[in-house]
Symmetry: C2
Subunit: 278 residues, 2 copies
């Protein structure tokens, strides 16, 4: 597989950064991640726009415009010739002379094989909670210190993931967004302190197809009273959250609305865009 690194394609095994890069020195950078599905870069425009927003928030100047990135992505995908993959674009703080001030970013695009089946039955997951808010929740930075630090606790609790909250107001998972379905069939996702996920956005758009979806405030108490709960991400699409901190959510089974939303998402993916490669 080839990687695009700064200004050209290199074989993955030779893709390196000098240790003066600000990601290595100070964990400073932004990224985005999306799927190549049967040769289609899924929702690529949304992801590239979000990458640019993240870079802007973090005062990083992308060396390429969105149009140029499209072009590089097409070349990369054609060169690698793998129809189903995950694609990660990283923009670091660059080779900083004083190991602190950001400079011209290093820019890389990595493609890794990733196949996701179109099974419309959502996976069921148990989650735990942890009090935390990401530093700059509007930006998709590379800083996952807390999420990774919590991996051991997640295993100890036999959970699949950890939901952040502050004073009982929930926000997001380290890598996914959160939704509940209330007893009135309102579908709500946290408005504040959460990354604006692209799959989250796709679910919000289903308000045009008869679902009562909105952004709002969700407390741990709201979850205790919810009928259903689920998480969204580009790689997980929708997973049913059936247990939180050892307590069942609703009846502890995958809800009907969760199941219906996943079916809609998969249908949308199938309808989206045109394959780069034949």
């Amino acid at each position: 597989m080839y990687v695009f690194l700064n200004n050209g394609f290199v074989e993955q095994e030779h893709a390196t950064l000098h240790i003066s890069d600000l990601a290595i020195q100070r964990g400073y950078g932004v990224f985005d991640f999306f799927r190549l599905r049967k040769g289609v870069l899924l929702y690529v425009e949304d992801h590239l726009q979000r990458l640019m927003r993240s870079a802007n928030i973090m005062h990083l100047q992308s060396p390429y415009s969105i149009n140029q990135m499209h072009q590089i992505l097409r070349e990369l995908v054609t060169k690698n010739d793998v129809a189903n993959a995950g694609i990660r674009i990283i923009l670091t703080g660059g080779y900083s002379p004083d190991a602190y001030e950001p400079t011209t970013p290093n820019f890389l695009i990595v493609q890794s094989p990733l196949q996701i089946d179109d099974n419309t039955e959502p996976k069921k997951v148990n989650i735990m909670t942890h009090e935390f808010v990401r530093d700059l929740p509007e930006a998709k930075t590379i800083n996952y210190s807390m999420g990774i630090w919590l991996l051991n606790k997640i295993k100890e609790q036999n959970a699949h993931d950890v939901l952040y909250h502050q004073n009982g107001v929930v926000s997001e998972f380290p890598r996914s967004n959160f939704f509940i379905v209330t007893q009135k069939n309102e579908i709500i996702t946290p408005a504040a302190n959460a990354l604006k996920g692209i799959t989250r956005q796709r679910v919000l758009e289903l308000r045009n197809e008869g679902f009562d979806v909105k952004e709002g405030k969700i407390t741990l108490q709201d979850i205790a009273q919810a009928k259903e709960a689920f998480l969204t991400s580009s790689t997980k699409r929708i997973q049913a959250v059936v247990q939180i901190d050892g307590k069942k959510i609703g009846d502890g089974q995958t809800g009907e609305i969760t199941r219906a939303l996943l079916a809609h998402l998969i249908m949308k993916e199938k309808q989206y865009g045109t394959a780069i490669t034949a």
Copy 2:
């Protein structure tokens, strides 16, 4: 200059990490930084112990023991033959197959020329404040997203640095510790939510030489009423903090206790240890 990288010495310009390293992918790693002063690795034992504590907190397994690191440092310093330098040891999350779970760390030691004069007159600095607490304040992680993000605001305010607080209770600077001197000549540094700096520790030890130094709680109100304030770090030693958010601290001049402490610190440095190289 040579860099020690994992298991050997490489020339600095060739010191690279593969892009799958978890520092690049997820900003995950720990480090420590100390000075080589006239061939003496200043307070190296404290720094290596803190590095091990940081690694332990972040679930990273150092490939070398403290004794082995001493040996590598001696070799590196001898090879590079520069008497005054900054030395940075970084331990990253390693080449993670899933770009999320830490694995065997990459270990690197970088030496950069750094000369600090022994002028006993403290530099004067203006600071601003920002509401923030580091994720895991006991660990010296590579995560400086917030500190670096704030660089533009610091410039806008004509400040030199930014002091973090939460609900008015102050903790630390991104890279330095904070102290005040009260009207009763008590010297206080925040006990909570601050990295345990080695220079901070040296100042605390001056309680054995007649200074009334202690850890405690400091609020923004306490600073408004303080006689003096200063910051400490391994590269800055002691700097007088004479202004905060545009308001003078005390009479806005370097205080006598701040000045006396710096003189003591420099004397301690001169007395410390034995040079590795003749």
